[in-house]
């Protein structure tokens, strides 16, 4: 996508973080930036505090499993600004053998459970998360159900309360 068609938020992000922003696009009207995972917390905190961005709501976080691609996993953040009334989507790619990314709980406390859910469903590890336990599945569950290589019809024994 040509440089001049970028939205102000994406332009500012590229100006500030340079190489840490891998690519950007605004397809379907959604501003999107793919960033390097090493600087994710720094980028998110910038987006929250910068006077032109002011993304005070972390609306959603999820993982996506692109099985067969490398890197395999993607973490997707959806942010919203109350004052500016704009949205942005931030994504970071993670390798299968090292699906680790820094936790953004320090930036928005409300993202806590979303990270737990992404960990539960995809096995993505959020480093520095205060309580990274399973959230929808039970503690004894084996595997991560939303991964593409987890069979849809697979059954596991339900477990009772611990003795």
């Amino acid at each position: 996508m040509a440089e001049e068609t970028k939205s102000p938020v994406l332009r500012k992000l590229v100006e500030t973080f340079g190489d840490a922003v891998v690519s950007t696009h605004s397809r379907f009207g959604d501003d999107t930036a793919l960033v390097r995972r090493e600087r994710i917390v720094e980028i998110l905190a910038f987006l929250r505090d910068d006077p032109d961005c002011l993304f005070d709501f972390a609306m959603d976080l999820t993982g996506v499993d692109y099985l067969g691609e490398e890197p395999r996993f993607e973490v997707v953040y959806h942010l919203y600004s109350l004052e500016k009334k704009h949205r942005v989507r931030i994504k970071a790619r993670l390798h299968e053998d090292d699906p680790v990314i820094d936790s953004a709980v320090s930036v928005w406390p409300g993202i806590n459970w979303y990270e737990r859910e992404a960990c539960d469903m995809y096995g993505i590890v959020f480093r520095g998360h205060p309580n990274l336990k399973r959230i929808l599945m039970y503690e004894g569950f084996v595997g991560h159900p939303l991964r593409k290589d987890y069979p849809k019809a697979k059954r596991q024994p339900t477990v009772g309360p611990e003795e």
Partner: protein, 406 residues
């Protein structure tokens, strides 16, 4: 903003040298309304800490949808917020249409506004009604249950054929147009059912000393904390933040209506009740304006790539028959890409993040359920408060396990 700044951060302290009592509430408990669980640590009746747990109603909506065609996912969305299923239908259809680049006809947009606002009203009625049952005020429940029943009997059942499993939207339109006489019935219900019912409950509760004493100060939250925790919908507006996507990022035809966004001050149970009551009045206003403006014309886009061809055509020419067959068996063909589409549901922002790799079905669907953040914020609302207030607060934030657990 990262730190929670309210003045009740530390919760309570044990008065005497004693062990705190651990109380387990749920998952099957009449006051949780759904299968939710809390583990509360108590000092006497004061909540020291609260740990919410859920997942008992998890049925793999997101996994399941990856193996279905785009249209087959519509019925699954009914089961998200089962108190206002039509809103989920609309939210999902709008997300896929954004991906396809479809603009639905004006009449369809008005019908969607109508069913969304009807759903918002009955959702708020259920929320307030059941909340009052928990607080021992059964009368109000019946004052709201009857109008809700009227909506189901006279509007939603004739429209969709069912009560809960509506599945009324399609990609590119609706299942069918409004039935004959529906507009008049809707107008009559606004005038003869909604307005009197809201006035009745208002008279019973809003200036009721017992109600005010019971709910004022129960589970308050500051605007800053509510934003940091990602609250949306009535719970956020009760804390004084006027975020309403119908105003802030207007979708469908919401920019053509005159309505107000009520806000509270303290963010407590009483404010949440007040905000919901006012929102119902505003929704009635929107419905009446939408009925006045309702245009004629088709409800579906004129494009058989997305909408099934006319039945008469299917029976009489081969191209339409093939298109019909392909739309059903292969699913409609949606371009590759990713979108996030948000609508203002009864509880707050209902978001759909959809990834498509092209072809007949979604690669991934993620739902942002509105009550997820509110349930996460329950410890924030309740720690340091009385255990009996937990029930009042839980009812007022309106946790729907169907969308929470997916």
């Amino acid at each position: 903003m990262a730190e929670l700044v309210g003045d009740r951060k530390t919760g309570g302290k044990l008065d005497m040298q004693a062990e705190p009592v651990i109380l387990n509430i749920g998952p099957s408990h009449p006051a949780t309304h759904a299968t939710l669980r809390f583990v509360a640590e108590l000092d006497g009746e004061t909540i020291l800490s609260l740990v919410p747990e859920f997942g008992y109603l998890h049925r793999g909506f997101e996994k399941e949808s990856e193996a279905h065609t785009w249209t087959q996912v519509v019925p699954y969305t009914d089961r998200l917020n089962y108190v206002s299923p039509l809103m989920n239908n609309v939210g999902y259809a709008m997300a896929v249409e954004k991906l396809c680049g479809i603009e639905v006809p004006e009449r369809c947009q008005y019908i969607r506004v109508l069913i969304c606002e009807l759903s918002r009203i009955i959702d708020h009625m259920v929320c307030i009604g059941t909340n009052m049952v928990d607080l021992g005020a059964l009368t109000n429940f019946w004052y709201f249950w009857k109008p809700r029943e009227e909506v189901y009997m006279h509007l939603i059942e004739p429209l969709t054929g069912t009560r809960l499993t509506t599945g009324y939207t399609r990609i590119g339109g609706m299942q069918w147009d409004l039935p004959e006489g529906w507009v008049e019935k809707c107008r009559a219900i606004c005038r003869n059912v909604f307005r009197p019912a809201i006035a009745d409950v208002n008279a019973l509760l809003t200036k009721n000393r017992i109600f005010i004493d019971r709910t004022m100060g129960a589970g308050p939250i500051t605007a800053k904390d509510a934003i940091a925790l990602g609250f949306t919908g009535p719970c956020l507006r009760a804390a004084g933040v006027p975020l309403d996507l119908r105003k802030d990022q207007p979708y469908l035809v919401y920019d053509r209506f005159d309505f107000d966004v009520p806000v509270g001050e303290e963010g407590d149970t009483c404010d949440r009740y007040m905000v919901r009551m006012e929102e119902m009045r505003q929704s009635v206003r929107i419905i009446e304006q939408a009925l006045d403006q309702l245009p004629g014309g088709p409800v579906n886009v004129d494009d058989t790539r997305y909408v099934l061809p006319d039945k008469q055509q299917v029976y009489t020419n081969i191209e339409s028959l093939m298109q019909h067959f392909k739309n059903i068996f292969e699913g409609i063909q949606v371009p590759a890409g990713e979108v996030y589409s948000a609508t203002e549901a009864a509880n707050g922002e209902l978001g759909f993040y959809i990834v498509s790799k092209g072809g007949g079905g979604p690669y991934k669907i993620k739902v942002r359920p509105p009550c997820f953040n509110m349930f996460q914020g329950m410890p924030r609302l309740c720690e340091g408060q009385m255990i009996a207030d937990l029930i009042a607060v839980l009812g007022s934030v309106n946790i729907i396990a169907g969308e929470l657990d997916r």
